[in-house]
């Protein structure tokens, strides 16, 4: 087997961007993913098997059989769960990872998102800490990611620092968005358009969004959704320096005298020892932690990077306090993808709670999701009255939602199961714990603001699902290999390198100290760029105009 400069496990948001940066810097890169190359034709539009609603399966990997996890509920009972269970806390596996099927909201974190502990204090029992880097450290890399992968959007809210414009203008504003903008204005709230990693105009050799109604959870029928598979990874391959192996499962790191020398990989029916000068892990917060915990040496008997018992802890994602209601007149105009209008007025500075989050409208909702999730309390679950409600209500529905900045708990964690293994006999991830109770208080505050917004838009009766203490890594998993300067309380240094291993870099949401009050994918991409640059010691610029 030949020797690579860098091998990357995980071809999602972080791994894809790292592959581009390293290949553009002249390194010979092998990019691995356990998933396959997927597109619209191979993923389809099954409303019951996708990444928005996975009742009977999903439209990416891994396969439902042979890839279980163990989930420990709030009563301490273990459940063996398949990838389409919400308790699996799944992230799509494919070349491109979740970016093949995501909604692609392209938010930068707020400057204060990097300074949560010093802004609010760290509540007892939580592991709320500041990041070791600031917004300003990441800003240039946010911009590079916005141009490499391709963002459409308008100017930032005054809550955010000034920045360069996006490569594409904002997507079409629909009637719901106009109603929400008018309502916000009435209340004195500032709004901005939702930045999306989707083409609003033809860009990068691909078409503009067709404004269809089946977006998040699905691949794009016109390839206007910018994932890493059709941008960063494509460009990495075009350098001639990057090879992609799909359906390649990395199990553990290899070592010589305590130094990382590569990865053990299963592909095409057999195991391979992949040798490389450096290894980048970008398997998502759950699988990256699992791989580290499964890689043991005499020096690190509890897993690589885990001598301080930090790997796998602080597992977090996002609470979504949804508020829902119906307008008197239908606002439906069928224009997708859907998120058009956000307020950042409540990301910080909220009396009596820690942090906050953005609020925005959402993707066009599938009728079956409306039927399953948005029936008001006490409304009939079946029969003529239910049918009447569906028929009358769907086109009058209005929803406001958004991710809440989590206050992490060290007891929310990934471990290796002691009794369940995957199809290769490798111990699977065991997920346990919940977020810190302060997250629930912040979520309740945000839910109240979401309801305010709907009422101002003329919705007379609003409702939402009650917030409850739970593990919330199912959307935007992060935090399990947190970044810090002190090896006693963190796993990687401010450049994504595992403490004590200068040639082992983590380039996914694992390194997030906290996960922001925003969708985190652009932060994952920006950090991957920054860490990959540091690994090779050269700056990699990008301009689509130089093509």
């Amino acid at each position: 087997m030949s020797h690579w400069d860098v091998v990357i496990a995980g071809a999602g948001a972080g791994g894809g961007v790292a592959a581009y940066v390293l290949a553009a810097a002249g390194k010979r890169v092998l990019l691995l993913d356990r998933g396959r190359w997927l597109d619209f034709a191979t993923t389809g539009r099954d409303h019951l098997r996708n990444h928005r609603l996975a009742t009977y399966g999903h439209n990416t990997g891994p396969e439902l059989v042979g890839n279980p996890r163990v989930f420990v509920d709030v009563h301490g009972t273990e459940h063996v769960v398949a990838p389409n269970s919400s308790d699996y806390h799944h992230n799509a596996s494919a070349v491109g990872g979740g970016t093949v099927v995501y909604g692609g909201q392209a938010w930068r974190f707020h400057p204060l998102d990097f300074r949560m502990a010093s802004t609010y204090g760290s509540p007892s029992g939580s592991s709320l800490e500041d990041w070791p880097i600031s917004y300003d450290d990441l800003a240039p890399y946010y911009e590079l990611a916005e141009w490499l992968v391709g963002v459409a959007g308008g100017p930032p809210s005054s809550q955010m620092p000034e920045r360069r414009g996006y490569p594409m203008p904002a997507h079409v504003l629909h009637r719901k968005g106009r109603a929400l903008r008018a309502a916000a204005e009435k209340m004195g709230w500032e709004t901005q358009s939702v930045p999306l990693l989707m083409n609003s105009v033809p860009w990068d050799g691909r078409a503009a969004c067709s404004n269809c109604q089946q977006c998040v959870g699905f691949a794009c029928p016109v390839d206007a959704k910018n994932g890493t598979q059709n941008t960063a990874i494509r460009r990495a391959i075009e350098t001639g320096n990057c090879r992609v192996w799909d359906q390649a499962v990395a199990s553990s790191l290899s070592f010589e005298a305590g130094r990382v020398t590569g990865l053990r990989v299963f592909r095409c029916g057999s195991w391979h020892e992949i040798k490389a000068d450096a290894v980048v892990l970008a398997c998502g917060a759950i699988e990256t932690a699992r791989l580290l915990l499964h890689s043991r040496t005499a020096q690190e008997p509890n897993g690589v990077g885990n001598n301080s018992d930090q790997v796998g802890r602080h597992l977090q994602g996002h609470y979504y306090p949804n508020a829902f209601g119906q307008t008197d007149e239908p606002l439906w105009d069928g224009i997708g993808p859907g998120p058009t209008t956000a307020t950042l007025d409540f990301n910080h500075g909220n009396d009596g709670v820690i942090g906050g989050g953005l609020l925005a409208d959402d993707f066009v909702m599938l009728p079956i999701i409306f039927a399953k999730w948005w029936r008001p309390p006490g409304a009939p679950a079946w029969g003529q009255a239910n049918k009447d409600w569906m028929r009358e209500g769907y086109r009058r529905s209005l929803m406001v939602t958004g991710p809440v900045h989590e206050i992490p708990s060290p007891d929310s964690r990934v471990e290796l199961s002691s009794r369940v293994t995957d199809r290769f006999g490798i111990p699977v991830a065991r997920l346990s714990g919940t977020t810190h109770p302060e997250t629930v208080r912040t979520a309740e505050f945000m839910e109240a603001r979401a309801k305010d917004w709907l009422r101002a838009a003329g919705v007379r009766e609003v409702w939402s699902k009650p917030q409850a203490l739970r593990l919330s890594a199912g959307q935007h998993q992060a935090g399990t290999c947190r970044m810090g300067v002190d090896p006693a309380t963190s796993v990687v240094d401010p450049w994504g390198r595992v403490h004590g291993h200068e040639n082992l870099v983590i380039a996914d949401g694992s390194v997030h100290v906290t996960n922001g009050g925003f969708n985190p994918v652009l932060t994952i991409m920006a950090l991957a760029w920054r860490s990959a640059e540091r690994l090779v010691g050269v700056n990699v610029e990008f301009s689509p105009l130089s093509d």
Binding site: D46, C212, Q213, P367, F370, W382, G383, N386, R391
Partner: protein
């Protein structure tokens, strides 16, 4: 097959009450019975659950009731977590039928039409 022949009519009758036909199609018009049968074919545990629920519904004389009496019985069952003779929870059984009827109906393009969900591409 996952459901005994003598219970097919009970299944159809119950699904018809979950989403009745009116000016728009109902559950049976959009083949929700076939949707449920296919589901049961791939899930033995669910098939046994349905078998018991349908058997009991049948035994309660459901098949020959007029529509409003069927609704009344289903409503009553919906409020009972247990009931003499039932091995499964009647409320869980009604809830499952409602969910599966929705899944068959509102993933069908003609079901989308009833709520005004239009697909342009």
């Amino acid at each position: 097959m996952a459901v005994a022949d003598d219970l097919r009519e009970t299944l159809r009758g119950a699904l018809d009450r979950m989403i009745p036909a009116d000016d728009d199609p109902g559950a049976l018009d959009l083949d929700c019975d076939r949707f449920v049968l296919e589901l049961l074919d791939s899930d033995a545990e669910l098939a046994a659950f349905y078998e018991n629920g349908l058997r009991n519904l049948h035994a309660e004389g459901f098949d020959s009731l007029p529509p409003d009496e069927k609704d009344r019985l289903l409503s009553e069952l919906e409020s009972c977590s247990s009931r003499d003779g039932w091995a499964v929870s009647p409320s869980a059984f009604v809830e499952a039928m409602a969910q599966h009827a929705m899944e068959g109906f509102y993933t069908h393009p003609k079901g989308w039409q009833t709520v005004g969900f239009e697909v342009t591409l």
